[in-house]
């Protein structure tokens, strides 16, 4: 039984045991092997690395600094997505996009439901029922409700300024009539509607 690699290394490095010494004294093969290992060790000591240019060392430090800066900025690039000042506006924007995307579908679904219910009815729906549906639409539709709220306080001048009722329009003329004029207008309209072919 010869020395193990571990025992050879111990002997070469001066940590020889009594058993190893005794074996080496008696074993020619292990002595030859030990000589070869020592020679290789001595030869390996020759493997010095060539000295680079004196400027290389400061250049290396500079490269390390630049690489650390680049590394830090690239990491900041990733982590910046997780900061509240970025996340909060992005969340708000995402929520807005979601609302805009889902709103038409929600409105369509709301409107289609009563129509489907009304369509199979044997008799035409009562006017009151239709009005109630529209009221419900306005009450539940946020956009219609918003328009209703905004227009509730508008006078005719504001409407005219918005281009919806010009100076010579019928709406403006009717809005300026007194009660007697309105009654006369009503009679004229009824007479006109009562004519044959009207």
């Amino acid at each position: 039984m010869h020395l193990s690699p571990e025992e050879f290394v111990d002997v070469v490095e001066g940590a020889r045991s009594a058993e190893s010494v005794a074996h080496l004294a008696a074993c020619e093969v292990c002595r030859t092997q030990l000589t070869a290992i020592r020679a290789a060790l001595s030869r390996a000591a020759d493997g010095d690395v060539p000295e680079p240019s004196p400027l290389f060392w400061s250049q290396l430090s500079g490269r390390v600094n630049a690489a650390i800066d680049a590394d830090a900025s690239s990491r900041r690039g990733w982590t910046s997505w997780l900061q509240p000042r970025v996340l909060m506006p992005m969340s708000a924007m995402a929520a807005l996009v979601l609302v805009v995307a889902l709103l038409p579908a929600a409105r369509g679904a709301f409107r289609s439901t009563p129509l489907r219910l009304l369509a199979p009815a044997a008799t035409p729906p009562a006017v009151d029922a239709v009005d109630a549906r529209d009221t419900n639409d306005q009450a539940s539709d946020p956009l219609l409700a918003m328009v209703g709220d905004l227009s509730a306080t508008m006078d005719l001048d504001t409407v005219a300024d918005a281009g919806l009722a010009g100076q010579g329009s019928a709406e403006r003329a009717v809005s300026r009539m007194n009660d007697a004029e309105l009654r006369t207008l009503k009679q004229l309209l009824q007479a006109e509607l009562g004519r044959p072919g009207a």
């Binding site: 070869a36 290992i37 020679a39 390996a44 493997g47 690395v49 400027l55 250049q59 290396l60 690489a67």
Partner: protein, 202 residues
């Protein structure tokens, strides 16, 4: 009172500043200064360890360009992982450990590097070089080339043991193996080195 020393080298990195007060700090204190945000403390760590780290990398890959890239990578990784340095080993050993991992990864990715025997990149052929010095330089290049052809673990073990004076225990920790495996790798590395170099000088 701390004073600052500033130097500039033309054609290299524009400027580096080292605080004199850092010079007297031990390794652990330097690391703590880095972690506290004093970047110049890391400059000092690089300055102290850049040569052996570069030499470690050079022995793995056998050429200056790759060795300088790897050395840079070692320090960047060290900076990134500075919080993991617990002071149980020396900073040099910790850096060598990173260096070995970086080099082994590179060697695995690219295959075995070879250093041409006639590599003269740092030998000034126009200078009046004494013949014995030239012979010595060639012998060194042959040894490096032979080491670069060793299997990865044998190469790592031989380099760390021979040139960086790491103990078998430290090498085992760096390579994630046992002390027995490290000694066996060292033994086989020396045996293979003998085969690669032939009888030249042995």
């Amino acid at each position: 009172m701390a004073s600052s020393l500033t130097w500039t080298l033309p054609g290299t990195w524009p400027m580096a500043t080292v605080d004199d007060s850092l010079e007297n700090l031990d390794e652990r204190a330097l690391v703590e200064a880095c972690l506290a945000g004093r970047r110049e403390a890391f400059d000092l760590i690089v300055e102290r360890h850049r040569r052996p780290v570069y030499q470690l990398c050079y022995r793995f890959v056998g050429n200056h360009e790759d060795a300088s890239d790897l050395a840079q990578d070692v320090f960047v990784r060290a900076y990134r992982g500075l919080r993991n340095f617990r002071g149980q080993a020396t900073l040099a050993t910790w850096l060598y450990r990173i260096g070995v991992n970086v080099c082994l990864n590179r060697v695995s990715a690219r295959g075995l590097p070879t250093e041409p025997i006639a590599d003269r990149q740092f030998v000034d052929s126009t200078a009046d070089v004494a013949p014995d010095r030239l012979v010595r330089t060639e012998r060194q290049a042959r040894v490096r080339a032979a080491i670069a052809r060793l299997p990865r673990k044998q190469r790592a073990t031989l380099i760390l043991r021979m040139y960086h004076e790491m103990s078998h225990q430290e090498i085992a920790a760096a390579l994630g193996s046992s002390v027995g495996a490290v000694k066996a790798n060292f033994f086989h590395a020396l045996g293979n080195l003998k085969k690669l170099l032939g009888n030249e000088g042995l």
